[in-house]
């Protein structure tokens, strides 16, 4: 085996590929394009900020003498804030049918009808409210419902506590101050016991709910980092398939195979040269995608050469590339022409990227497709890269999938070489 012959294929492959506009589009432009679209459509710069709901209100309780009437309820809605952002943009309507009409036209996210006597009912019994939520899209419906539901829950608790305070203010006058009672918690004054008991009736469980989600899920830069690696995975998938699928077919179709094999070069030197050429191209385009994602989109992707585990990232890039090129060699058995091989490889690569958790998160996919993602080794490799570069996983967390990927790559590559030799022998009588 002579290096100079392998070098011939590497140099020729890289030069020819970067001169072909269609190839440049697929290996660099398309992944960046889909990443940009995702960054500005699905994860816009406002991602993570509270949403403001367009809320229509019909207030039929204007004249109530209660301190908590319809008018004060509307003021409360207008002033309600979360993290410094007003949650409701309130617009008043004269009657219920006008409100429903506006909801149907998509002008409002939700509507509330405050009935007459609402204020009295809040004080004396249980107040009734009519709430409409826009069902324009499933996603919006869920968000609007959750926001209004949470608001109503918090408001109910607030009112209940106010009512309890007011009630207890009068009740306590009739309870002696120095009477104590022995309880399982120790000795307690009667007043404290009554207060605690009544509070428990109003609010039996005071749950403290706090969101603790990985940064990679909630922060835009981390999410963009996650998708950047998905874009690389997607590009490696269809480009690798395409490189493998066209390796022999292109040479055969353009009549070069005979001439090449009439020189002292061996079929293995040709395969190694072309595979290394493909790996270099895929590495260059991966680097361009990740740099563009960091520079243009401010995606959070970390790689530290001093951290041992980070060196598994280039290893996984290599493993994915070898796996996809080898699968491409299998595709070349079916394809008859370069165009056919390239189209088949691209379509298959894109479809697999979408259904195996490489581009879309697994959680977004139906359960049946998640099985596919779980058994697809290229997804394992992409996940390891995400775990290292986005979630900063430790070596022991990614060791097992890495070992599995290495063995599977060796297996797939061996099958690829066997099929490649079969392909060569199909065209040339070696």
């Amino acid at each position: 085996m002579k290096w100079v012959r392998i070098k011939a294929f590497i140099v020729a492959y890289i030069k020819a590929l970067f001169r072909d506009k269609a190839s440049v589009f697929w290996i660099i432009v398309w992944p960046l394009l889909i990443l940009l679209m995702t960054a500005y459509i699905f994860i816009p710069p406002s991602f993570g900020n509270p949403v403001t709901l367009n809320l229509g209100v019909v207030n039929n309780d204007v004249e109530s003498m209660s301190p908590f009437n319809g008018t004060s309820f509307v003021v409360m809605l207008k002033e309600f804030e979360y993290n410094g952002t007003k949650l409701f943009e309130v617009k008043l309507y004269g009657n219920e049918s006008m409100l429903i009409n506006e909801l149907r036209r998509g002008k409002l996210d939700a509507g509330i009808v405050i009935p007459e006597g609402f204020g009295e009912e809040v004080i004396l019994g249980q107040a009734y409210l009519k709430v409409y939520i826009s069902g324009e899209s499933v996603y919006d419906f869920q968000v609007n419902k959750a926001m209004l539901g949470e608001f109503m829950r918090q408001l109910s608790v607030h009112i209940a506590l106010e009512k309890l305070r007011m009630t207890m203010k009068y009740v306590m006058k009739w309870v002696p101050e120095n009477v104590t009672i022995r309880t399982s918690h120790g000795v307690m004054s009667l007043r404290e016991l009554i207060w605690r008991y009544m509070l428990g009736m109003v609010l039996p469980i005071n749950a403290s709910v706090k969101e603790v989600a990985p940064k990679a899920v909630v922060d835009r830069p981390y999410l963009l980092g996650w998708f950047s690696l998905g874009a690389i995975g997607m590009m490696l998938l269809y480009s690798g398939f395409s490189i493998g699928a066209t390796t022999i077919v292109e040479e055969k179709e353009e009549g070069r195979l005979y001439r090449i094999l009439s020189t002292p070069v061996t079929e293995i030197e040709m395969l190694i040269g072309k595979t290394i050429g493909g790996l270099v191209v895929l590495a260059i385009s991966s680097l361009i995608i990740v740099v563009a994602a960091i520079m243009l989109l401010h995606a959070k992707v970390e790689w530290n050469p001093l951290r041992l585990v980070d060196w598994l990232v280039p290893l996984h890039l290599l493993l994915i590339s070898i796996m996809t090129i080898s699968i491409g060699l299998m595709i070349s058995l079916i394809a008859k022409t370069t165009k056919g091989a390239s189209n088949l490889a691209t379509v298959l690569g894109l479809v697999l990227a979408f259904i195996t958790g490489i581009w879309f998160p697994r959680e977004w996919m139906p359960k049946s497709l998640r099985i596919l993602a779980d058994i697809f080794p290229i997804t394992w490799s992409v996940d390891v890269m995400r775990d290292i570069m986005v979630k900063r996983a430790m070596l022991h967390e990614v060791m097992i999938p890495t070992v599995k990927c290495v063995f599977i790559t060796i297996g797939i590559f061996t099958i690829g070489i066997m099929l490649y030799r079969k392909m060569i022998r199909k065209y040339v009588e070696m």
Partner: protein
């Protein structure tokens, strides 16, 4: 003589079709040997076996005393296939460097050799243009230069001047002659009889997978060609002229648009008969001459068919 290519009783079958039927040829050191025959005669199949791309169904092939599949045998051959087989996304120079590297040549030595050959085939000025922008003739010349890149001992050229204009064809012939002068052996497959005539020390006439005859062009023309050929240039060629003249003179007749060629044993007797037939059929003679036979005439005489049918 030392033979650098030896093909003995080679057969090649593709399914039911026999492409080669017991072909035997030999090419000596410093010799130019042509395989002359029409398209489909089996020339390219034979060449593919010699350069190691195909295996014979039966028979023995030796290149420099080695099996053609041996990488050492391949390294002494410079092969110029019928299809130019170039990478259109590389420049002419890059294509040459690619093949130079496949033959183990790199760096300054390769660059020097590439420039030398590009100049020889008249492509130095276009060396850095992408090959996809080259004309057919330029591609053929580049293809020939690639065959010479590693200064091979044996040149195997499959229709090297196909599609070239006469000026360029002559330039290629000069390159082949220069190779012979340097002691290289050349195996040339062609269906241009002028090419075989001009360049070859020996010619094998191949037809339907068999070698019909073999020998020096002059010797072949003398032994197998007609004594004379009457060549008549017409202003216009009447229909059924060939058939009528064949009846009158009883020998082979070829018509190439307005050029009529008739094989003749006694031109003095045949010329008046032919002229009167032409005028009877409404034709008109522009010029007339009696010439010596060519290899095309030899082929016609042997097969009853023309080389370019």
């Amino acid at each position: 003589m030392v033979y650098v290519i030896e093909v003995s009783n080679v057969w090649k079958r593709y399914g039911d079709k026999e492409a080669l039927k017991g072909v035997s040829i030999r090419v000596g050191e410093g010799e130019v040997v042509s395989l002359l025959g029409p398209n489909g005669a089996g020339k390219t199949t034979l060449i593919s076996i010699i350069v190691g791309i195909l295996k014979p169904t039966k028979g023995i092939v030796k290149v420099g005393g080695m099996d053609p599949k041996d990488p050492n045998a391949r390294s002494i051959i410079g092969f110029c296939p019928q299809e130019s087989a170039l990478n259109g996304d590389l420049t002419g120079r890059e294509n040459m460097l690619f093949y130079a590297r496949l033959h183990g040549l790199d760096g300054v030595r390769a660059k020097r050799r590439i420039n030398e050959l590009l100049e020889k085939v008249g492509l130095l000025g276009d060396a850095d243009r992408l090959v996809r922008r080259y004309s057919g003739g330029m591609k053929r010349r580049l293809s020939l230069a690639i065959a010479l890149i590693h200064d091979p001992k044996i040149l195997v050229l499959d229709e090297p001047t196909l599609g070239m204009d006469p000026g360029m064809r002559r330039r290629v012939w000069d390159i082949v002659k220069e190779a012979r002068d340097k002691g290289k052996s050349v195996l040339l497959a062609t269906h241009y009889m002028e090419e075989a005539d001009e360049l070859s020390d020996r010619v094998y006439i191949v037809h339907e997978g068999r070698v019909l005859i073999e020998g020096n062009p002059q010797q072949l023309k003398e032994e197998y060609g007609p004594p004379s050929v009457i060549e008549i240039e017409l202003y216009k060629s009447p229909s059924e002229l060939g058939e009528n003249i064949r009846k009158v003179v009883g020998s082979n007749v070829m018509i190439d648009e307005c050029l009529l060629r008739v094989h003749s044993k006694s031109p003095d007797e045949d010329v008046p008969k032919i002229i009167s037939q032409i005028y009877n059929l409404g034709g008109d003679v522009k010029s007339l001459r009696v010439t010596k036979p060519t290899l095309e005439d030899v082929f016609l005489r042997l097969t009853g068919r023309r080389l370019r049918e």
